[in-house]
Amino acid sequence: MAKKIFPKEDVCVGCHLCEVYCVYAHSKYKKPNIKAHELVKLYIKHKDSKPTPKILIEEKSGTWTTFALQCRHCDDAPCTKACITGAMKRLEDGRIICDEEKCVGCWSCIMACPHGAVRRGENKKAASKCDLCLELGEPACVKNCPNEALEVKEV
């Protein structure tokens, strides 16, 4: 059974804090106790390639609705079947992850993901998608959303 993150559009503030914490959680500076303001170190270090969040905020001009979409860790994940390198794969714990070292940025996963949940990461070189932050115990976006608009469930 895989864990998934469920966005609640009715209470999402559209503040993008989940993105901030996502970037921080996946940065080289990550510590168990995440403090997003330490991101500034990252941005200074990576001047020409801002780290990309693995989350995608949907917002559209003219509507107030916003929500944060993550990879659904699909049971029958089309991204893994389309990936030409084997970078996109399912781990034994059920998560789908992208091995960014292996990825060549062919974007077959973007072609295949029905949710549009894969982003082109840093410098558009490798695919960037939610890995559920399992190493941290709880996804950083969920933990740090100020309005509890994200929830993890095992389904």
Binding site: C74, I84, T85, W107, I110, H115, R120
Partner: protein, 422 residues
């Protein structure tokens, strides 16, 4: 019970992975005439261009066969199958018995009879060994290359050769490059980008003769032009690799004919991937769809059925994601309208050099071409697959920020939260 797979590429992986989800015990044997463990064909151009090294060519971990209890017979070619006695005969005389057989022999290069094809430094562009040989030729001083065919693999070859600092001319019989995935307008956009990187195109002509004394020196084209060159790469296309099965009772049309369970006309014999001819959901006909995701899906479907779990795959259609230098494109389904009742939506943002074209039939997407504007394209691919009616949102489909917020709330929630019910 013993499963045997001929071919060791992505269709084989799909099959192995499906079998092992439902049957962890019975033996699986994989036979391949290539000596490598399972690697990626699409990556050969990346290898040649220096973007990936040998270690990254492999699409599964080193312990893959061991973990999945697969016995491999690598570097051995299947030369015949005796469907009566249920045996695969290998080139060294060995006979491999099967209870369930998957034929996943993929494609082989199509080369029209050409004078001079046997000369040194004339290559095809399909296998790992092909690019290793090209690499050797470059290391021993080749400077000028002629690539024959401006399809996906020909242009990938051209890109890699430019990255290795060769002069590259691409020869193409059609009036446009990437004819299988782009229409004329889109193809011109991509061509001009490739020309900026130094690739020279000769369209509407083809090779007449390859000239040289033991080794390639010149290529003579049908239009009379003669090009100096050190290497020639044939990349016109692939055809199903099934010669060794012709003349048997196996039903073959263009490829091995399969139903939506990947069964052939012979009991317990299945086929999948580039050697198989299955149903194309968009074109509504039996076709070979020689692309990676299709090969995986067909292999997987075959695997489940071979292991006794009924599964069907009837949503195959062509789709491609490919990039050259900084131009990226994703296309799917119909890319050149094939009937009068197709509605065309198009948007060309010249400033960003972004192009989106979508074809609709009865309010449903049947094909699209996105160039330099590809984020979230999978949502559209999925709409083709689901036959989703887009009538009310159709003009939003051309916008880069098209997303779930363009769908009614109930549908959006169903799609996003759907997993909760699964």
């Amino acid at each position: 019970m013993k499963y045997v797979i001929i071919g060791n590429s992505v269709a084989a992986c799909g099959c192995i992975e499906a079998i092992r989800k439902v049957d962890t015990q019975n033996p699986i044997v994989v036979i391949s005439d290539e000596k490598y463990r399972v690697y990626s064909r699409p990556l050969i151009s990346y290898y040649l261009g220096g973007k990936v090294d040998e270690s990254k060519m492999y699409i599964r971990d080193e312990d893959y066969y061991e973990k999945n209890k697969v016995e491999t017979k690598l570097g051995k070619k299947a030369v015949a199958v005796d469907f009566k006695s249920r045996e695969v005969i290998l080139d060294d005389g060995e006979k491999v018995k099967y209870d369930k057989l998957l034929i996943a022999t993929g494609g082989k290069p199509f080369v029209p009879p050409t004078k001079g094809f046997e000369l040194k430094n004339v290559f095809t562009f399909i296998k790992f060994d092909d690019v290793k040989a090209i690499d050797e030729a470059i290391k021993s001083g080749a400077k000028k290359a002629v690539v024959i065919g401006a399809g996906l693999s020909g242009l990938k070859a051209a890109e890699a050769l430019i990255k290795r600092n060769l002069d590259v001319t691409v020869v193409e019989l059609a009036n446009r490059i990437l004819g299988s995935i782009l229409d004329l307008e889109a193809s011109r956009i991509v061509q001009s980008e490739l020309e900026k990187h130094g690739i020279v195109f000769k369209l509407e002509t083809s090779v007449d003769e390859i000239i040289g004394d033991g080794k390639v020196e010149k290529v003579k084209l049908k239009n009379g032009e003669v090009l100096d060159c050190d290497i020639v790469v044939f990349a016109i296309g692939v055809v199903p690799n099934i010669d060794f099965l012709k003349g048997t009772e196996l039903k073959i049309n263009r490829g091995i004919v399969v139903n939506n369970k990947m069964e052939t006309n012979i009991q317990d014999v299945y086929a999948a991937g580039d050697c198989a001819e299955g149903y194309d959901f968009v074109f509504e006909q039996q076709r070979v769809i020689p692309i990676w995701p299709n090969a995986y899906n067909q292999g997987e479907t075959a695997g489940y059925n071979m292991a006794g779990v009924e599964r069907t795959f009837d949503r195959g259609f062509p789709m491609n994601s490919i990039g050259f230098f900084d131009v990226h494109m994703i296309t799917a389904g119909i890319v050149v309208p094939n009937s009068d009742d197709i509605e065309v939506l198009v948007k060309h943002d010249k400033e960003k050099n972004a192009y989106r074209k979508i074809y609709l039939k009865n309010g449903r997407v049947v094909g699209f071409m996105f160039i330099n504007s590809i984020d979230r394209a999978g949502m559209i691919t999925n709409m083709i697959k689901e036959g989703f009616n887009v009538e009310s949102i159709k003009h939003r489909l051309l916008d880069e920020d098209f997303g779930y917020l363009d769908l009614p709330k109930e549908i959006r929630q169903e799609k996003i939260l759907g997993g909760a019910k699964a």
